[in-house]
């Protein structure tokens, strides 16, 4: 695995080096087309979410007159069967969807980091027990687990977040554990152990910073997963019915039968929004991958003498 450059040299006392590395990372992000596209889409949605009360000051769920009208000058994206403005619902929906997705994604990553570090650092029985737990949770099918958890817990936004974390942490823990395990075997960790560093300090200052890129891709992946899972949960009617989110918008679209009535403008925007956000996050994820793993980068020149694929390309032509 390719690591960020400052990895093996120092044991914690390096002040300026991580800063320079992150600056270099940011500059690489700026040069990467995928990262720029992804960040631009994300910024647009975050801006819309923040500006929702300014753009649509009225309560978007207020039931209006003239239901299910097609997009037009008055309502740019038409209205729902209940006469609500679809554009307002979509913009307002981004608040809850992004909020829940980001919070649940961050929490699931933190749990994953804790479990992964504990497994790698302590090893033996701790690793055995936590790995078993991780693998069990990985195997349990996510959506049915989400459903029974959400069905039994009192409905609300908090429940949705907790349930998403419960179903989402295991995959992160597995990835982070194997990465932490390989760093645990490095000499500088052994050196820190010998110098008598406290376990917590070794985990947080020696191991964690050196897996920053994996933590980042894990975080982006879990936010994507959380947004999708939340939408699925709400689509089944298990979310918080009082909040407006992309998932509940789709739930109402489906309940009101907009699909069979051919009212595409009711269900299209929220799904597109979910897809765009997930796509943007995935693009950032691939960008991070490409920057930190040179093997995945696109070859600059078309052919080089010892590249095996290039040789076969020539043979096939």
């Amino acid at each position: 695995m390719a690591l960020a450059p400052p990895a093996p040299t120092s044991t914690g006392t390096s002040g300026p080096q991580p800063g320079r590395a992150s600056l270099r990372f940011l500059r690489a992000l700026g040069r990467n087309g995928k990262a720029v596209a992804g960040l631009a889409i994300l910024a647009t949605f975050i801006a819309l979410a923040l500006l929702a009360p300014v753009l649509f000051p009225e309560d978007p769920s207020r039931i209006g007159s003239g239901g299910a009208s097609a997009p037009g000058a008055e309502h740019w994206l038409g209205t729902t069967a209940k006469g609500q403005d679809v554009l307002a619902l979509t913009v307002w929906g981004s608040r809850s969807s992004l909020f829940v997705g980001v919070i649940a994604g961050i929490l699931a990553t933190i749990v994953g980091i804790i479990v992964g570090l504990a497994c790698a650092y302590f090893g033996k029985a701790v690793d055995d027990v936590l790995s078993l737990l991780t693998n069990v949770f990985l195997l349990l099918p996510g959506l049915p687990l989400l459903v029974i958890l959400a069905a039994f817990m009192p409905p609300g936004l908090g429940t949705v977040i907790i349930v998403l974390v419960i179903t989402g942490w295991a995959g992160n823990a597995r990835v982070l554990r194997s990465q932490a395990l390989s760093i645990r075997g490095k000499d500088y960790v052994a050196a820190a152990l010998v110098t008598g560093e406290r376990p917590l300090r070794i985990m947080l200052r020696e191991i964690l910073p050196n897996m920053a890129s994996i933590v980042m891709t894990t975080l982006l992946g879990s936010v994507i997963g959380a947004i999708g899972a939340q939408a699925g949960l709400e689509f089944l009617g298990l979310g918080d019915a009082n909040t407006i989110s992309w998932g509940t918008n789709l739930f109402w679209a489906s309940t009101d039968g907009s699909l069979m009535l051919g009212q595409w403008w009711i269900f299209a925007p929220s799904g597109l929004a979910i897809a765009l956000v997930a796509f943007a996050l995935a693009m950032c994820n691939y960008a991070v991958d490409e920057i930190t793993n040179p093997r995945l980068r696109k070859p600059r020149r078309a052919a080089s003498a010892n590249a095996p694929t290039a040789v076969t390309q020539g043979a096939q032509a």
Partner: protein
């Protein structure tokens, strides 16, 4: 053999954990599902429904461990209680009637996604920077970003409602009775295309990119260079040397992705009113049918664990290192 036994033990632990979770959930949660149920359901409950709920919630009396062992015993005899939304059918009967359709949908879409996705990945990695490598992955990642059910809604709207060339709902036409004759099989296939297609489209990108990335590492191996030096035909090197060795992570991924495929199938079924387990799950959620929800969870979990075990068996067959190690 040791590997297989260890995996089997692990799956048993996983299943035990899901049973225990099922047992604990209703007992630990604040608030009382029974009162919630009674307040939501306007109709009067039959004594048998009340009994089913009481068993679920452990109002039978006796110490908790006695209830616990009784619960495990009931699960292993397939007794999940009586469904509330489809009263008085037992939960196990409701599930048995629906499960085959979900298995059909899940298996067909998994098979198509794995085969097509891996093939695309092999070809993309073989011609780095070619059209397949630069255009298709971002496109598939974009399609893969849509929620399963939204893509299902979209395809149903385009092909079913607007164009009218595909059936709108259910797994077979009204009036047909399930049998093995050709008209029925074609009818089922016609109803299967759209739901399966939406799952395949969403999941194919992951397979392609996974395979592509493993293939890129494999292509850099010395034995590929050696094969080229020997002057083997590119097709032979690609499939028999590179792809064959890059396939192993994909086999492991099949096990890991089963849960997602099931989740996707459940939501897709809801959109198409496909008479599988997912459609039933929606009905269970709407009717607050806790016994049915739990039964569905356990059945789906058992199916996923079993499928994982089968994947392990295949893995042992494919990777000699596991057999020796």
């Amino acid at each position: 053999m040791g590997f297989i036994l260890r995996r089997l033990g692990f799956y048993l632990v996983a299943f035990w954990a899901s049973i225990t979770l099922n047992f604990m959930l209703p007992r630990l949660m604040p608030g009382d599902p029974v009162t919630r149920m009674l307040s939501r359901s306007q109709q009067r409950l039959d004594p048998q429904q009340v009994e089913s709920l009481q068993r679920l919630l452990g109002v039978e009396g006796g110490p908790w461990w006695q209830e616990y062992f009784a619960y495990i015993g009931r699960v292993f005899t397939g007794d999940f209680g009586v469904s509330i939304s489809r009263f008085p059918t037992p939960v196990s009967e409701v599930i048995a009637a629906q499960l085959p359709w979900t298995l059909l949908l899940g298996a067909v879409s998994l098979f198509l996604a794995v085969v097509i996705g891996n093939l695309l990945g092999i070809l993309a990695a073989w011609r780095r920077g070619g059209a397949l490598d630069s255009v298709v992955p971002p496109l598939l990642v974009f399609i893969g970003s849509f929620p399963y059910f939204w893509l299902a809604m979209g395809s149903l709207y385009v092909f079913g409602v607007t164009l009218g060339i595909s059936p709108l709902r259910h797994a077979f036409s009204v009036g047909l009775t399930p049998s093995w004759d050709l008209t029925f099989i074609f009818d089922v296939a016609a109803h299967l295309i759209l739901p399966a297609l939406s799952i395949v489209l969403v999941s194919i990108g992951g397979w392609m990119l996974g395979m592509r990335n493993t293939m890129i590492s494999t292509n850099a191996e010395d034995y590929i260079l050696m094969a080229e030096a020997k002057g083997l035909r590119p097709r032979r090197i690609m499939f028999n040397y590179a792809a064959r060795n890059a396939l192993l992570p994909s086999v492991t991924n099949i096990g890991m992705s089963l849960g997602f495929i099931v989740g996707g199938a459940l939501l897709t079924e809801v959109v198409f009113a496909y008479p599988g387990v997912g459609y039933q799950l929606l009905a269970a959620v709407q009717g607050l049918d806790y016994p049915l929800m739990q039964g569905l969870f356990l059945t789906i979990t058992a199916a996923v664990l079993l499928a994982n075990f089968l994947v392990d068996l295949v893995y042992v067959r494919l990777d000699p290192r596991v057999r020796v190690g």
